[in-house]
């Protein structure tokens, strides 16, 4: 099933929600993780093989602090007739794939390291056992092996804000709407983008990279029985681009397009402004049914408030393999596989999903969730490191469950507000990085399960720098020297460093925001202890997650603890680092970083792109606008009945087929 992928870099809620976005930057592009797990078959060509030089990067409006005026270009856009386009365009066919058989083929080339029975008897206490469990249980079913009437109980760490795919921004919403939403494009576990064969018949890109043409399949229907057409896609684009509709997360990326036009029920053309490497991600946006929203959305652009929209919240018209049949707020959401997905006009046109029913149980407390997993009320959940090391090692856990881990591109950091009087100086930020007790954090608080993080890109990603960046270690002498150099000395002899700013003596005392998870608080408390030793006072303020998000967006903070899940394309990071961008909460600004991001976007050669992003990582590492802390691996507990979990750099579910590859054996 297509993974509806409005999922760029995501703000991460520590240990609970793997990927929660504030305003999701959405340009996913390129691919990655190749060095980590070389796929056994040749990869499809990604970027249009245009020999032309990229457009002049200086014309990109990225270095301006004001919101980039990208949307301006598409207002007066009038699409040329299809004949005119077809007449003078040379098309290149792009991959249209069915993710499931592709994954099966890939897995088949790796012989299992253990039998299923052996793997189920194993305890996951070593790298070798983990590999065997994943290898034996992460398999797809042979014909007739899966129980297609099965139900799976999934864990949802937070309720959905909305069931409308356009309003989706958190990981919880991705989990649910990935199954109910309709999409044309997706990406596999190596983050390679493609068009989903379940919904797309043909996908072509013009040689100059400025047009994408998609032909939809003719056997698609919404859950209310009406056909899904190209007009739905063009309509969704119009709604997304309307300023009145509050969908900033989905709009970024889509706003790089000039327009989307449906020429008939099946033919769709995407018009780009420039041949960007990220175009392939910009055309991937969620789709809503036109016949449902056409009359209602302009009266209520929030898509949430009017009576009709409230009703749709409870029972949305779905385009994916599943539909929502029941929703009790704060408790559970029940999805059922809809027949109209796989059988249209009495003919089987698509595979039947492996589960008849998917029940999401909303349990905010990870310990409650673990109890439910042990009891068998849940079939899967994300484990905290503490749960992984201490609470999932006994018979009580292994009676019904097993667990698996894999690297994930999710990193955590202290973010410094570079506009605050404390952290505007790079030397101060470096001093704090030196002062923090990294070893204690990794060893004690993180149970030695995480690796230190050296900057924005995961070391196994293609865009990561090849230069070995040395992780910071606690060095209080150096930290003090840097603070002295930056002018933060104890002038008034009160044991606290201070500095004259605007004629006033400001003591170095700041507040760090963090979420209410115990681990986040422990890490911030450790920062407090570390800095107290060198005369800097820190107040830790655990903050409710939505309040925290709001404070970050309004830039009302000095420092905060948080995390990002990597987007599939490095360009997603520009939303966090380029001047004036939406999630640049710390107001970081570097002309060179802005320039490199702009160049990286237009550069189509993978190797040359990688150089640009590697340079960005090095520059950011020097500037330390964040104190990078660690990469979080994914830790998952699974019921022994489940099979078919395969991890990607975005965890076991957030790619294609992702959750679609899970199954339960027939009894």
């Amino acid at each position: 099933m297509p993974f509806s992928s409005r999922t760029g870099q995501n703000l991460v809620r520590l240990l609970r929600v793997p990927l929660v976005a504030a305003t999701v930057a959405v340009t996913l592009a390129g691919c990655g993780g190749r060095r980590a797990e070389p796929p056994p078959k040749p990869e499809p060509v990604l970027t249009p093989p245009t020999p032309e030089a990229p457009a002049d990067p200086a014309t990109k409006p990225l270095s301006e602090p004001a919101p980039p005026p990208r949307a301006a270009a598409q207002a007066p856009f009038a699409p040329p007739p299809l004949e005119a386009i077809d007449g003078d365009t040379k098309w290149i066919d792009r991959p249209v794939r069915d993710a499931l058989p592709d994954l099966a083929a890939e897995l088949d080339k790796q012989p299992p390291l253990a039998t299923v029975a052996e793997a189920l008897a194993l305890r996951n206490d070593s790298v070798d056992h983990n590999a065997r469990i994943l290898s034996a249980l992460g398999r797809l079913p042979a014909a007739g092996q899966a129980d297609l009437a099965a139900r799976v109980d999934r864990h949802l760490p937070a309720d959905l804000n909305s069931t409308n795919p356009l309003l989706s921004s958190s990981a919880a919403e991705q989990d649910v709407l990935g199954l109910t939403g309709f999409g044309l494009f997706s990406f596999d576990r190596h983050l390679e983008p493609f068009a989903a064969a379940e919904t797309v018949a043909r996908w072509q890109t013009s040689v100059d990279g400025i047009l994408d043409k998609v032909v939809l399949r003719d056997d698609l229907v919404w859950s209310d029985g009406r056909p899904i057409t190209a007009h739905d896609v063009a309509f969704s684009y119009r709604v997304i681009m309307d300023e009145r509709v509050p969908v900033p997360a989905v709009r970024s990326g889509t706003d790089q397009l000039r327009g989307v036009h449906a020429y008939d029920d099946r033919t769709l053309v995407y018009f780009h402004q420039e041949p960007l490497a990220t175009n392939v991600w910009n055309i991937n946006f969620p789709v809503i049914p036109r016949h449902v929203y056409a009359d209602t959305w302009e009266d209520d652009p929030t898509l949430k408030d009017s009576k009709r929209h409230v009703d749709l919240e409870a029972k949305p018209v779905c385009g994916g393999p599943y539909e929502i049949v029941q929703r009790s707020r704060g408790q559970e959401i029940v999805l059922r596989a809809r027949d109209t997905w796989h059988t249209v006009k009495g003919k089987r046109v698509r595979d039947v999903p492996f589960f008849k029913e998917v029940r999401f149980r909303i349990l905010e407390d990870p310990n409650t969730a673990l109890l439910a997993l042990k009891k068998g009320d849940l079939d899967e959940m994300i484990l905290t490191p503490e749960q992984w090391t201490t609470q999932t090692i006994d018979d009580g856990f292994y009676e019904k469950n097993t667990k698996a881990t894999a690297p994930e591109w999710v990193s955590y950091h202290f973010a410094w507000n570079t506009k605050s009087p404390f952290f505007s100086d790079r030397r101060v930020r470096r001093a704090v990085s030196h002062a923090f007790d990294h070893e204690r954090m990794l060893g004690t608080i993180c149970h030695g399960l995480y690796t230190p993080c050296t900057g924005v890109f995961h070391p196994t990603a293609w865009m990561a720098t090849k230069k070995p960046l040395d992780p910071y270690r606690q060095d209080l002498d150096r930290a003090e020297a840097l603070l002295d150099e930056a002018g933060w000395l104890d002038h008034d002899n009160d044991g606290l460093r201070d500095r004259e700013i605007g004629g006033q003596s400001v003591p170095f005392e700041f507040t760090i925001l963090c979420n209410q998870q115990p681990m986040a608080q422990e890490i911030c408390t450790l920062l407090q202890q570390s800095l107290e030793r060198i005369g800097v006072r820190v107040n830790v303020k655990p903050t409710e997650f939505t309040v925290l998000q709001q404070l970050m967006l309004e830039k009302k903070f000095d420092a905060s603890f948080g995390g990002w899940g990597a987007g599939a394309d490095p360009d997603t990071a520009s939303n966090i680092w380029a001047t004036g961008e939406g999630r640049n909460f710390g107001s970081y600004s570097s002309p060179e970083v802005d320039r490199l991001f702009a160049e990286g976007r237009t550069e189509v050669d993978r190797a040359k792109r990688a150089e640009k992003y590697a340079r960005i990582q090095e520059l950011l590492w020097e500037d330390q606008p964040y104190t990078w802390l660690y990469w979080r691996n994914s830790f998952h507990g699974f019921s022994k009945e489940l099979r078919g979990y395969v991890f990607s750099p975005r965890g076991p579910f957030h790619y294609s087929p992702g959750f679609g590859s899970l199954w339960k054996p027939a009894p």
Partner: protein, 366 residues
């Protein structure tokens, strides 16, 4: 104390003093209540002397020819002598004292453990770092074990005593002041004053304290226990006010009040000198129970993670630590027992007070 020329007030004051003496006399004969009172006294002593019982800063030390008391930093972080910051002690005293001034000496707390952080290796020469997680079970060095990050539970509990008692006494102090004043006015003056006060009381009773505290913690820049105490106090006075009003309604028609009025005493004097001392006994009981309830509320809030910001030393926050790993039983057992005993003690004291001051109960016992 002013001594008025009239004889009556002296005459009134004497039986009042006799009443309390008599109550104390009866209270002393209740072994359970006396044990509870002694326990409360013990807690108070622990709370006040906490930095001398458990800490990593010397109680008193001589350094470069002068005497310092770095342990005061536990009461307020600004009270740490600056010289130790300028000399780059970095919070570690034992080694630095010896290194930077060999002639120095220090009196150390009974237990060398810190309530806010784990003791590092060799901080006290020859001692290993505190164990963390499952390894932190109670031992000779960590009497009550350590929490997940290796902070000593005993030290946390000793320092948490101050928080618990402060919350109880300060919030109930606020509540009692408001409740007594408001109730006295309503009861004495009656009429529209009474109507306004009674309705206000009812409105305040409707405010859910817990929700108010949660809302407050979300808005304020720095949530501290003082703000929590203020909220507990500002919402907890209603019961006291009602009792006070009832007492005043009863007493204002008493003969001695009429007598005081007859010789020209003003309302202020009548309220404060004549009625109040006689009306106090019944409200002492809800105040004592209120202290117990406030301690429980603070622990509850900390348990839910809405208490003091970390690294707070509070009993409830230890229970919160235990929530993520129930195998660390010492995180439940010790603070749980402490909360239980403290609340029980205050309740027993309150019950004793009630028995000692209520004339009807007194009659019944005879």
């Amino acid at each position: 104390m002013e001594r008025p020329p009239q004889a009556e007030p002296v005459g009134v004051a004497r039986p009042a003093a006799g009443f309390w003496a008599e109550a104390w006399h009866r209270f002393r004969r209740m072994p359970l209540a006396m044990t509870a009172l002694a326990f409360v006294g013990f807690l108070a002593a622990v709370a006040i002397l906490a930095p001398a019982i458990a800490g990593t800063k010397p109680v008193i030390c001589r350094y470069k020819g002068r005497l310092y008391a770095p342990c005061l930093a536990y009461y307020h972080r600004d009270w740490e002598p600056v010289i130790f910051a300028t000399d780059k002690f970095r919070g570690e005293y034992p080694r630095n004292l010896a290194e930077k001034d060999p002639a120095s000496w220090a009196v150390w707390p009974l237990v060398f453990q810190d309530p806010y952080r784990a003791v590092r290796a060799d901080e006290w020469p020859g001692r290993p770092a505190n164990p963390a997680r499952d390894a932190g079970r109670p031992s000779r060095r960590n009497l009550f074990g350590t929490n997940q990050s290796g902070v000593d539970v005993f030290a946390k509990m000793v320092h948490g005593t101050l928080v618990a008692l402060l919350v109880g006494f300060v919030s109930m102090g606020i509540a009692a002041s408001i409740g007594i004043a408001v109730g006295a006015l309503a009861g004495y003056f009656g009429g529209w004053v009474d109507a306004v006060v009674s309705r206000t009381t009812e409105v305040v009773m409707c405010v859910p304290t817990l929700v108010l505290i949660l809302a407050l913690l979300a808005i304020v820049e720095k949530p501290t226990i003082w703000k929590m105490m203020a909220v507990l106090g500002l919402t907890g006075w209603t019961g006291i006010s009602r009792l006070m009003r009832a007492e005043f309604l009863r007493l204002k028609s008493a003969e001695f009040v009429a007598a005081a009025g007859a010789v020209g005493a003003g309302p202020g004097r009548i309220i404060l000198r004549h009625i109040l001392p006689n009306a106090l006994a019944p409200v002492m009981v809800p105040i004592t129970f209120g202290i117990a309830a406030a301690i429980l509320t603070e622990s509850g809030l900390s348990f839910l993670g809405f208490g003091q910001p970390p690294p707070a030393a509070s009993w409830g926050s230890l229970l919160n630590d235990a929530r993520s790993n129930l195998r660390m039983w010492w995180l439940v057992a010790f603070p749980g027992t402490a909360i239980f005993l403290t609340v029980l003690a205050f309740n027993l004291v309150g019950e004793g007070l009630q028995k000692a001051t209520d004339p009807r109960l007194r009659e019944a016992r005879k």
